[in-house]
């Protein structure tokens, strides 16, 4: 092959997702999926989408019905929402639309956080400026507020630790520089208990975008649906580069049904939060340092984390291990069902004998 690669891509390391085992029998606590099945109404919607047999037809290119449902619930206009093939796609559209190649645009992100932001920035010829957060409270460093970056990605709650940043801090990030775009990635917001508070920022600030996903609290990782909310003018630029049929029929129907099945998911979310408290406590008792998490995962530090990761995997328990220096002494553990959590704890106990 003698074809020259786009320089930004040549230097790029692909994002490595958590392992998806093909053999059965694994307790999978490594990719922050919900352990719970879809609501009956969602299963019905998928079944209906299949048996109506209209999936030979292209989907609604605008995902209108889904967006309308979300817009009404959030009290924003239809044109303020863009729906995508997972929030991965909407975050990518942000980078593609707003990072200008060759102009020295830089993104800002906390460290640690979701590493995909860096991959996306580099993909579009930008680089990432990171702002380190440290124990015990993992606060946003002062420098993050006044360093000029083009787009600041703030995951809130922020994986893999799970820190929730209060609204006032996001307001400050936005107001300190109106030419800087603040993207609040709320993939885990439903586990944080703050509801839709951030949507008010979209009304008040012209440089705030809020992204969400159906992959976590809505149990729909397999169908790939995410969305982003912001001012019309920002959304319109992203619409220009969105693939016209980016969201398939089944995903549109299932996500809408899920969004309406409020009670079912509120119940599962409550259960996950309860189990998060249980797991946090149980891990602390076993000598782990566990910062407070507001996501559907906890980050548990103990000196033997790297070994534990391997030994747990041998016992068919998958958790996530990151080798970055500030994370290498910890494991990110997804909040599974109570049974899965107990299997994990038994595994840990057996290993410490």
């Amino acid at each position: 092959m003698s074809i020259e690669i786009n320089a930004a891509v040549a230097a790029l390391e692909a994002y490595v997702p958590g392992e998806q085992p093909r053999e059965p029998g694994f307790v999978k606590l490594n990719t922050n999926e919900s352990p719970y099945p879809s609501a009956p109404a969602v299963v019905e919607a998928v079944h209906a989408a299949a048996t109506e047999a209209a999936f030979n037809k292209y989907p609604d290119p605008a995902s209108r019905s889904l967006r309308q449902t979300i817009a009404e619930s959030l009290g924003v206009e239809l044109g303020q929402i863009l729906a995508g093939n997972g929030s991965d796609e909407v975050l990518r559209l942000v980078c593609h639309a707003f990072l200008r190649p060759g102009s020295g645009d830089v993104i800002g992100m906390l460290d640690p956080t979701y590493v995909l932001y860096r991959t996306l920035a580099e993909m579009f010829g930008s680089s990432a400026r990171t702002f380190a957060t440290v124990a015990p409270d993992y606060a946003i460093p002062e420098a993050a507020y006044d360093t000029p970056v083009k787009v600041f990605f703030l995951a809130n709650p922020n994986p893999p630790i799970g820190t929730l940043y209060p609204l006032e801090q996001i307001e400050r990030l936005a107001a300190d520089n109106p030419a800087r775009l603040i993207v609040v990635d709320e993939a885990y917001v439903d586990f944080s208990g703050v509801g839709n508070a951030s949507i008010s920022l979209v009304e008040r600030f012209r440089n705030v975008l809020v992204s969400r996903t159906f992959s976590k609290s809505y149990s729909l990782a397999g169908l790939r649906v995410g969305y982003i909310v912001g001012r019309r003018a920002l959304i319109a630029e992203m619409e220009k580069i969105r693939d016209s049929y980016n969201l398939n029929r089944v995903s549109q129907a299932a996500a809408e049904a899920a969004f309406r099945a409020t009670e079912y998911y509120a119940d599962k979310t409550r259960q996950i939060c309860e189990d998060r408290a249980f797991l946090t406590e149980a891990l602390r008792r076993r000598g782990f340092e566990v910062p407070e998490s507001r996501g559907n995962f906890v980050f548990a530090r103990r000196a033997d984390a790297a070994e534990l990761y391997k030994s747990l995997k041998e016992r068919k328990i998958l958790v996530r291990y990151f080798s970055a220096p500030n994370l290498a002494d910890g494991l990110r553990i997804t909040i599974g069902t109570r049974t899965e959590i107990n299997t994990l704890l038994e595994g840990l106990d057996a290993l410490s004998k």
Partner: protein
Amino acid sequence: MSVLVPYRSALKSLAPYPPGKPIEEVQREFGLTNIVKLASNENPLGPSPLAIKALAAESSELNLYPESGCHYLRFKLAEHLGLEPNRLIFGNGSDEIVAMLAQSYLGPGDNIVISEHAFVRYEMGAVMMGAETRTIARLDWRHDPVAMVGACDERTRFVFVANPENPIGSFNPLADLERILAGVPRTAFVVLDEAYYEFARQNADYPESLQLLRNHDNLIILRTFSKAYGLAGLRIGYGIGHADAWDPVDRVRPPFNVSRAAQTAALAAMDDSEHLQNTLDNNARGREFLYEELKKLGLPYVETAANFILIDFGRPAMPIYDALLRAGVIVRPVGIYKLPNHLRVTIGLPEENQIFVDALRGVLRN
């Protein structure tokens, strides 16, 4: 109040892609209930019954991320095509593969070569990445191999050869593809977009392009499950090429770009040779019927190897499109392809083709 955040200058010249009008929208606009949509080259027989069954059963694991690289589909398809599995890549529709190719290989100063009236997605990819598009005139609706090769230079990264071309339906034979591959610099890919492959291969002289992969590392072939396989609503397409060609593409590929629903349905649809055969038979019959009727109406058309026909009205076609819409028939205007006097009609079921012909006759009389 206005937004102060500056965006990429390449977007200034970009308008969103206008997809075919959805049935629901036409119903709303004109208060019609019975609509025939022959606008988006979808499969009129519906999806494969095997795919319907598989998809209806797919509900227990929606909470889990899909296979990142379409593992099972990759191995099945590789075996079916007689290729190594690493020669394949999958996308959220083949549109996504075109976009990922642009992202991987194009930058300012690079260029792509296309034929006039080409599928708009290629040029959009180039515009998005700040690259130049060189558009070559056609020879009797077909790609002009000599001129396409002549337009290439050391900054050419892609020569897009849709075969058959949407919205035209014509195709180039093997000798032309060989001429293009022989002449294009090795620093450029030749991308054969074969979205309509299953229909086109019914023609005896349609080239089997897989054989060309052996001698051409810079050949990429794109195919889709959206057309003959009837899965347009689920978004899944694939690319075939040298494993090295996909290396950068895999780096820009979103890790879970193809949904569980699409992977499940595609696996099942591949097994349904009966549905595929019915689809091809229906298309062949519909094509002959429409040819006959168009001849009776005195309307010239381009001979098609695909599941649509490009009709020449010899005058601005938008009024005819509008009138057909009011009669409940959605076809595709092709002004964005610089064919203002043409309309593209998808070959439908026999009754749909009849409704279209009747409506067209009515429209032309008035």
